[in-house]
Symmetry: C2
Subunit: 332 residues, 2 copies
Amino acid sequence: MTSPLKTLDVVGIGNAIVDVLVQADDNFLADHALSKGSMALVDEQQADRLYASAGPGLETSGGSAANTLAGIAQLGGRAGFIGRVRNDQLGAIFAHDIRAVGARFETPAAVSGPSTARCLILVTPDAQRTMCTYLGASVGLDPADLDLELVRQAKVLYLEGYLWDSEEAKRAFIAAAEVMRDSGGQVALSLSDAFCVDRHRQSFQELVDGHVDVVFANEAEICSLYQSESFEAAADQVRGRCRVAALTRSELGSVVLSGSESFRIPPYRLGELVDTTGAGDLYAAGFLFGYTRGDDLVRCGQLGSLCAGQVVTQLGPRPQASLPDLVANHLG
Amino acid sequence: MTSPLKTLDVVGIGNAIVDVLVQADDNFLADHALSKGSMALVDEQQADRLYASAGPGLETSGGSAANTLAGIAQLGGRAGFIGRVRNDQLGAIFAHDIRAVGARFETPAAVSGPSTARCLILVTPDAQRTMCTYLGASVGLDPADLDLELVRQAKVLYLEGYLWDSEEAKRAFIAAAEVMRDSGGQVALSLSDAFCVDRHRQSFQELVDGHVDVVFANEAEICSLYQSESFEAAADQVRGRCRVAALTRSELGSVVLSGSESFRIPPYRLGELVDTTGAGDLYAAGFLFGYTRGDDLVRCGQLGSLCAGQVVTQLGPRPQASLPDLVANHLG
């Protein structure tokens, strides 16, 4: 995984989103027919209606792949992000935040069309998050927005499954993946959400078989991908189809599969569970940070587990604590 | 303090601001010549330059009086807020958040001119906050924006000293205070910031002597108002000049003065000190909630102390925990 020509560790493509974190109870989810723990797409009118009925919010940059790349940058990795905002106040916040942690972000902001994407994240007292996303300007990401030079510079291209909900973004990803292959890098994919896997199962199966080196999924997502009844059955299905599968299981930790090997990684409990938003994103951040430095898969999994363990002790998906300090304290 | 004709407990006038909370160290403050713990006014260009050099942020509705009124509403008080945003994304966030806790907010958003006010709040590891405010649209609040009917409906009109930094807002306040007097209500004032008191000392002294029933100040502010060397000397100065003076002293708790009486209120330590943003605002919220219900001054002070004690255990000036639960658990 070392390549002297690569000046970046990971470049990610994803939806550029600002999160609005709101405390809610189970009744609110029921009243609005929201499925706890999932991500639902909403149009602008639905987004406005939901927001109007929700409690006061806390705004923070989000977006699944963007959270991962911000985490990699915070860890000291060389990270770049490609995604589309509008030239509005939320877009400026998104661009500031990802650059402020040291990631490269140069996708031009749209000067017309829908506003910057917003995700209303309802955090219930059990610390679960339920997301309603208005994709706004992020949907407009197309191959013309892709900085292929940035992609070529990276060791790993990282993609979020959510991109499959937009035809333009999907095409942009496939173009980038081909460039990545040609430049000798690897491709990593997060399956993002079980409902998202439901919507794009066949497409994801083909990807994992043919185009992806590293796949990230939680238990519900990997089970959905292979329509398996158990985690073990799903893990057996994915084994050998790609170079590495890193499967997260919440409080059970994670399992990393590679060839015939399996590594069980315990979870880190670093404090009271506050909000699971960003747990998967930060697992991928820690994992890929280690992976692109050439760490063994156990340490990659530990790095992922540690970063995920931190982010669930706070509100929001971008770690407020120092990740390098955390690594120094727990993994030396 | 009971008046059957009053349908609101407190109406506040203040700058309508969205906060951008950023972690920073003492070097950052020194590099930008910022005085720790203070509020400095910046123009849009300075605000943009500071923001660009700062770390990633967390956005939340703020504004001193707005935080107080939001707290009163969260406690179950009947609250209204008057302040000016622009019709932009941050303005929509501000309006949503204050309405979402049940406060009335009906000031029309400006449709042209500067954008919604932003305050960059630098939180240092010692939990102190240092603020740089771009007043933007909030400066444009003038008497025409004042809903005097809303003011007449309230038992108490609450004002932040920061308003004195804008000529229009100052005129709006004085007009509202006169209306309040005529309708049989009381006027409360927060001195806001020691530098703000420096800028407007004579004006504030005249107000406290002639127009204000309840004054809120921290130790630095009350010492600045009377150019006193000690807290005790300043407290002797303010005693008797207005109906009630509620003076906060951080970890020493607060002192409530009324006529010849003094009440010492201990602080509440409810967890690790994270961020002092909003401590004074939430003290005023708890105090005025009790005051407008006719509670005795000791309980008013305890309510203030409790709300302040909560908000300093979290990032940002709007309590994420339930204030009614807090009151039920600690004050019965």
